[in-house]
Amino acid sequence: MPDKNKQTVQGKLADLSELVAWFQGPDFSLEEALEKFTQAEALAETIEDDLTKLKNDIQVVKQRFDTKE
């Protein structure tokens, strides 16, 4: 799994979906479940943190459109 700190929220959401799917899929095993659950919990926390803290970057482009170039 890629470095969580560098991933976008979308990437983290995709990873979380993958982990959740593992729990419902045929590969599920109790032996691995605790580790996966810990991962999912940490990922959920990061996502919530990102969503709460991240701000949109809105920039008006310098290009003018009132005249032909």
Partner: protein, 367 residues
């Protein structure tokens, strides 16, 4: 007549040139409103028609390139034109731009372009591309001075974070608006790294205010956009050609923001529900495993009990056999045990259940 008092004598060509100079000085451009008659297109390049009202009529001339939308006889138009006397003696309005005026003509103009674009399949569902569920970078075309833009920014900031938004400021009404928006669409489509969604927004207004978004060239430019488009113009009830060619129509600019990004509170709730679901799934799996282990243990204990019972039964049988073979049991049946020297003259001991008898052997022989 005195030659000095004669009016200036001009050649016809000079007269026409002088008239045009005077017209150009006095009326570089004029706006004239009238009803279209005798509309005609020649050689696919030249457009001519008459503009009339109850008292007068004037010839109008323009190129097909300058004609931004289909027109028909009977439509009421506002033309922006330069008045000219042409060398053949006809007075013309050389039309630069025109637009329908009045509710009926605006509607008629809209229906004509709509029918044309519809026939070309520009509104068909097959052309519509899905928007990314959570885009990382988007482009917005609007007037940054408008309330619609402020609303749009407010909603996306409330709903989502981490979004890169590039905004092109253009007019959103009036004659230059369509061309400005076209340039902005082309600008974003020419970027090396394309935004994931191209959004065009404008708040509500009158039918004339929204006419920009019924411009045929703008509609075609939007339909060619390499970036999926989301258009939110006017109110819920307003339908423009820009809406119709867009990959996704938003009822209002606010609705465009809602379509563009998910609500982070909703995502947080979903993420929490996922974790709860996974936890529940794990608990269920642990419970199921516990039941399986318990069942296995019980089965093992049952098997052991069965084994013990079988062994115990065999032991009982063996014990009974041993008991049956005990010498006392044989003596009880009337048999006797003989010990000693079994040959003639030898002494023997005979044990019965009740007695021990010592005796001498008189005879012993093989059977």
């Amino acid at each position: 007549m005195d030659g000095a008092n004669l009016p200036v004598q001009l050649s016809v060509s000079d007269f026409v040139a002088l008239t045009n100079q005077t017209l150009e000085f006095a009326y570089p451009t004029i706006s004239v409103v009238g009803e279209v008659a005798e509309f005609r297109v020649s050689q696919g390049k030249w457009v001519s028609f008459k503009l009339k009202d109850d008292g007068a009529v004037v010839n109008c001339f323009m190129t097909t390139f300058a004609l931004r939308q289909p027109i028909e006889n009977g439509m009421k138009l506002l033309v922006v034109a330069a008045p000219r006397l042409n060398p053949k003696g006809y007075f013309n309005l050389n039309v630069r731009t025109l637009r329908p005026v009045g509710e009926g003509s605006i509607k008629k103009g809209f229906e004509l372009v709509k029918a044309k674009l519809e026939a070309e399949g520009l509104f068909s569902d097959e052309r519509k591309r899905p928007l990314p569920r959570v885009p990382a970078s988007v482009a917005v075309i609007t007037s940054t001075e408008s309330a619609a833009y402020a609303d749009f920014c407010k909603i996306i900031n409330e709903r989502w974070g981490g979004l890169q938004v590039k905004v092109a400021h253009t007019q959103v009404q009036g004659d230059p608006a369509a061309d400005q928006i076209i340039r902005a669409v082309e600008y974003f489509n020419s970027l090396e790294e394309l935004p994931e969604v191209l959004i065009v927004i404008r708040g509500g207004g009158s039918a004339e205010d929204l006419m920009t978004f019924n411009d045929e060239r703008l509609a075609r430019t939007l339909s060619r956009s390499r970036i999926p488009t989301l258009v939110g113009v006017g109110h819920e009830i307003d339908h423009t050609l820009a809406d119709m060619v867009a990959d996704k129509r938003a009822a209002t600019p606010t609705n465009a923001a809602e379509i563009l990004v998910p609500d982070k509170q909703e995502i947080i709730r979903t993420v929490r529900a996922h974790i709860q679901g996974v936890g529940y799934h794990m608990t269920q799996a642990i419970d199921a495993q516990r039941v399986r282990i318990r069942e296995n243990l019980l089965a093992a204990v049952r098997r052991m009990d069965e084994q013990v019972a079988v062994t115990r039964e065999r032991l009982t049988m063996l014990r009974q056999a041993v008991i049956r073979l005990h010498p006392d049991r044989v003596l009880e049946m009337g048999y006797a045990i003989v010990r000693g020297d079994v040959k003639p003259g030898g002494m023997i001991e005979v044990e019965t259940i009740t007695q021990v008898i010592n005796a001498e052997v008189r005879d012993a022989r093989q059977k």
